[in-house]
Symmetry: C2
Subunit: 522 residues, 2 copies
Amino acid sequence: MAMGNKLVKNAAGRMVPLEINGQPVTPYMGVGKYHPRGIKHAPPIASCADYPSDGNKLVPSLKEALKKCGLKDGMTISTHHHFREGDLVANMVFDCASELGVKGLRWFPSASFPCHAYLMKYLDDGTISHIEGSMNGPLGRYCSEGKMNKTAVLRSHGGRYQAVQDGEVKIDIAVIGAGCADTFGNANGLEGPSASGGLGFALADSQYADKVIVVTDNLVPFPCIPWQIQGNYVDCTVQVDKVGIPEKIISGTTKVTRSPDRLLIAEMTARFCDVTGIIHDGFSFQAGAGGTSLSIGIYFGDIMRKKGIRARFARGGSNKYLVSMLEEGLVDYILDGQTFDLDGVRSIRDNPGHVMTSPFTSYNYHGKGNFAGMVDVVILGATEVDMNFNANVVTHSDGYLLHGLGGWQNCLFGKNVILPIPLFRDRIPVIREEVTTICGPGELIDVIITERGIAINPLRKDLIEKARNADLPLKTIGQLREEAEKICGKPENPVFTDKIVAAIKWVDGTIIDVVKQIAVDR
Amino acid sequence: MAMGNKLVKNAAGRMVPLEINGQPVTPYMGVGKYHPRGIKHAPPIASCADYPSDGNKLVPSLKEALKKCGLKDGMTISTHHHFREGDLVANMVFDCASELGVKGLRWFPSASFPCHAYLMKYLDDGTISHIEGSMNGPLGRYCSEGKMNKTAVLRSHGGRYQAVQDGEVKIDIAVIGAGCADTFGNANGLEGPSASGGLGFALADSQYADKVIVVTDNLVPFPCIPWQIQGNYVDCTVQVDKVGIPEKIISGTTKVTRSPDRLLIAEMTARFCDVTGIIHDGFSFQAGAGGTSLSIGIYFGDIMRKKGIRARFARGGSNKYLVSMLEEGLVDYILDGQTFDLDGVRSIRDNPGHVMTSPFTSYNYHGKGNFAGMVDVVILGATEVDMNFNANVVTHSDGYLLHGLGGWQNCLFGKNVILPIPLFRDRIPVIREEVTTICGPGELIDVIITERGIAINPLRKDLIEKARNADLPLKTIGQLREEAEKICGKPENPVFTDKIVAAIKWVDGTIIDVVKQIAVDR
């Protein structure tokens, strides 16, 4: 079912609708150009008179809890993705909904993973109408093939907080899985078989949802300390056998790259940061958990040791490498959004310098500032980058929507944004005339570092000046593209139908781009 | 200026108005009887586009910050009382307001202290129209004498959070003094010359005020960890020479009583809790910082050691005695609202078992439950108790309003509420036919323990049953009153005018009683 409404060209030059799923939306207007009006979402006032005076909110089953919270057709149900590929909670929720015969639910996860392909049957039978949230893998493919009943909406971590805070998305029932909780609903992800580290992705849900259910497989006597989720926001608690599969929660994505090309990119990135003075005493950095990023972190550590300097803070996702830098004293603080391995979980639990953050503190663009702009250097990935430094992280060059936005858009507000990426992947060039989907505007992307050269955004004259005299292979983005096309040939563009299957929101809630249905099933 | 509007009898039998300072109010309807409708207060949506991208919100002076936040006539300005008698911030705020020529401000402190008597000149000259918040000492006397331009409103800690959350009190500008802060506005009370422990009393202010200013004398590089106050709520930060007077912040109220009568009361209270089974493995208690309460805590410790049991948690105000119980392993957790001495500050900073709470977690009656109801035994004071176990904490028997409500009303929701009080003070009986001001309804007050006997509320048949066979001097409340009057004579009642000078709110925002102007200046 194609969207009937008119498309307009937004400030990123993309044609976007003025309405999604029957709700008006605002086209992207440029960085910092959209000014929100109005007030935050205000959930109903509760009263202790309506809750057990001894604080025990335990309900016998998740199904009972959902009934108690008034689950009905068309509601919005949220979950978080701290259990990643090991999550069992979202699937349980919709099993219950299906058993209760409820239809047309909007699923609002902070992200979905391949383990949630299980839910396709509920998308097929109308239990779930659509997903608003990042879709990693099969559900993204399902969406790309036009099989979802309504339009998906993808938001960054910060954008998700913003949407909930601003009342763009009203959550009827939030279901929050927790490694550890008490019967009052205080919860954390630090202990128990399903420990996941922090629970920050569920913060907005707990604060703004009408009804909140905490589900745990590890009930502890009140008080559950620390209360990453506060029981005062929680309506019901539920004990189940398992909320997650431990070995898949801690997914072990944290492997340093062994590819010589990637190692070269990592080394060049670190050297670039060194010669341009980005690495200095008291600086801050954010690096992901991918293989290249991990290597960059290790090179950063070497430089810091050699110079005898420290970083004031590192933004996480945390892993054993970052934790070892904290423990060595190379960084004063890890400000952590999610822990990727057991060293991360242990550290955030035991080390006062390893601090849980949330999309509110780190990324919410509709706050009075956030942490993103304070980070000296941010290392990010991309599936594609174009001649204007615009970048894509959600679709592949074949047009399939296979990744979420994560904190990527939010991190673009860092002081120096570097994308260390290979010039091509599987003989498909990464640098293109135009990206398939614009997720981030080029004006916020400062440096592209490939194995065959470094392109600095012409807007960053200061960086060009500083890098000029170093022994670095500086090129223009056009030169990089030509090199890639010389090797791989000019890439073909995917063919789409006119049907919009997903909207990509910018950090301020405006629509920066859309994803269309794949025309040809390959 | 007497209030023109009609008085009605509320469920506590007191005559209360339907309007205060021109705003409609609801008379107290009984415990758990008032059901709030509507939604929480929603502050304006902000945008990072309007805040410095590097996170530095420092403004040269408090006056500049107040101007930047749009200070103008008739606004509501809030402050917190974590600096207690050592607070310098509130006085600074109104000095600035006066210099700027602003008039008619509503001051909304979490409590005021004798050090704020300085502000009488601004109440006199109309800079401040009135105070909504507890008034300890001189300002309460000023209010009792009818000198305030509008009616004062007193709320419990939880009631203050409720009022802000529910939009009953809209804070225009919150000014939050902090022992430690960064330029982004992250703040805590754990470090620096003006360390005060937690900053929980300012939580609602940070979340719901239109504009928030953090003032510190101890600026640290970002990130200030932990962020008890989150910079994402903060508009401006200000550095000043001193936010407080250290030796008055840590006021040393923590002296164990030496009075033989008080010691007898303390010992009886502990014994009562022992024989009735209130003290059991995993129990919880809340005891204040007064001399008798401290002694009770020490007796509790003795009993626990003898029995080889532990408390799951103690609710604070914390002090060195409670901290030593935590360190000894007699209590698993201190859930702390305010730290009364340096041992408390050290412990809440360094001991993960010593946890900061806020009026939201502990006391907010318009939440989905709170901690108050989970506490097994609560030890509270009172200036007066009447035949129905109603109690007063704000006025003396001479009619003067000299104390705040603190967390007293909120704590009445504990499972067992005990008032260990002397039978008389300065030859004035504490147990009366009727209390001067009802602050808490008798149905929530379980036991009165005096040096001459124990009265159990007839509603608590279970406690009467359990205490019956112990060697305890059980009496009726009437017998206690008769004994007091035999010794002191029948007390005279104070004489009031018709003018209502202060309203006492119940935990749900309804009016439980009023205080009238003293007729005769003694």
